[in-house]
Symmetry: C2
Subunit: 204 residues, 2 copies
DNA sequence: ATGAAATGTTGCACAATCTGAAAGTTTCTC
DNA sequence: GAGAAACTTTCAGATTGTGCAACATTTCAT
């Protein structure tokens, strides 16, 4: 279908789609931040953007998904980013590099992500969804890792372990970043986490 | 169903409650294993146990929760188990010991857990729920870790990192165990994962 | 054993979530 | 500009989940 184009090269239709999607995400985040997850209905979110609630469901399968704001392209991006790392680089280091780039992307949407993470902290039932995003990508990333070390997926368990651990480290860094109100650079926190991983998580 | 009558000290009422809860869990798992998550309604599950759907919601807040079968006591158990490890044992080793015990508990309910994990694999939208259980406990465990190394929670980030990583390793071991159809001992797989963690996840 | 208290189950009403299908509207292509 | 393609909306309906009141059962004190 449509390959990787920049936003400028899109037609009016796709541009409006992205706008609508972003507007729904933003409305969902701000409304839930103010009234709590249970205090906001899909109808509330839709009317805040002047859309029917049915249209909301054309964009997101559920209220929670609008808060996660899972971008469909992110999986492929992550994979390509990981595949771009030279084969002689150790797996954990490759995952660190991939995560650093992801951290910079999050940092670019700083306000949005800080708001999102705050909403997630205040509504713990959402936290699994943040990992859900990861669950999709976990298979893709671990498949790349498996190829990288020349192993059939699902036999050694190492690719799945390394992937799951790396994503856990990334999430932990994000939560710490959010708790510190986005003061330190997220990429630095990610780096620190991976360093501790590489050292075998010794007592500090 | 003939009760195991090993649940001493409990009156008939609480015994029946446990039975009903287990029956609902079992019905939910087997039905979803056969018809898929979307192919089973709460009404189906309830009538399979000869209960009203209203009663189902007295036991579980949602259909998904019946599949997870979250035991309320598990959080406290985990905490106590971790606190029981001598203070001079390094954090990662303490988490390994805690996880081993948990692995043995899972192994004791082998069939139930293999079915559950199979259901979760076949319905990926459920996977976050498996971690949801963890999200609750993640705070509790990381709080214990923080006390163990004498750090204010939320400052160093190490307790949260170590906890998240340990739980990721445990989950990876469980998935591998499930993929291997429960052949190897789960505790051994957990052990192996933690060994790789302690070694800094070197390329295999 | 018996009656009162506590607890569990159920039916009912109701709000909210989410999905198909059909019809209307906008955008794209030629 | 005309037709095709894609997006939005309305509508109907199944399902989820909760509060409440009535009913049934278990427990407990006497």
């Amino acid at each position: 279908m449509t390959s990787v184009e920049s936003v400028d090269e899109l037609g009016r239709r796709d541009r409006k789609k992205l706008e609508t999607r972003a507007a729904l995400e933003h409305a969902a985040l701000t409304l839930v931040a103010e009234h709590g997850l249970a205090g906001v209905t899909v109808e509330d979110i839709a009317t805040a953007v002047d859309l029917s609630s049915r249209t909301f469901f054309n964009y997101f399968p559920s209220k929670e998904d609008a808060l996660v704001g899972a971008s469909p392209a992110s999986v492929a991006e992550l994979r390509e980013r990981l595949e771009a790392v030279p084969a002689e680089v150790p797996v954990l280091e490759a995952l660190r590099l991939m995560s650093r780039v992801e951290a910079e992307h999050v940092q670019q949407r700083r306000e949005q992500w800080l708001l999102r993470l705050k909403v997630f902290e205040q509504n713990p039932s959402l936290l699994p969804r943040l990992v859900a995003n990861g669950t999709e990508t976990e298979r893709a990333v671990s498949a790349v890792v498996a190829r990288r070390i020349g192993v059939e997926p699902g036999t050694s368990g190492y690719p799945e372990l390394a992937t799951a651990v790396a994503m856990a480290a990334f999430r932990a860094a994000m939560m710490r970043w959010s708790a510190a109100d986005g003061r330190p650079a997220l990429a630095d926190l990610v780096d620190e986490a991976f360093s501790q991983l590489a050292a075998g998580l010794p007592n500090p």
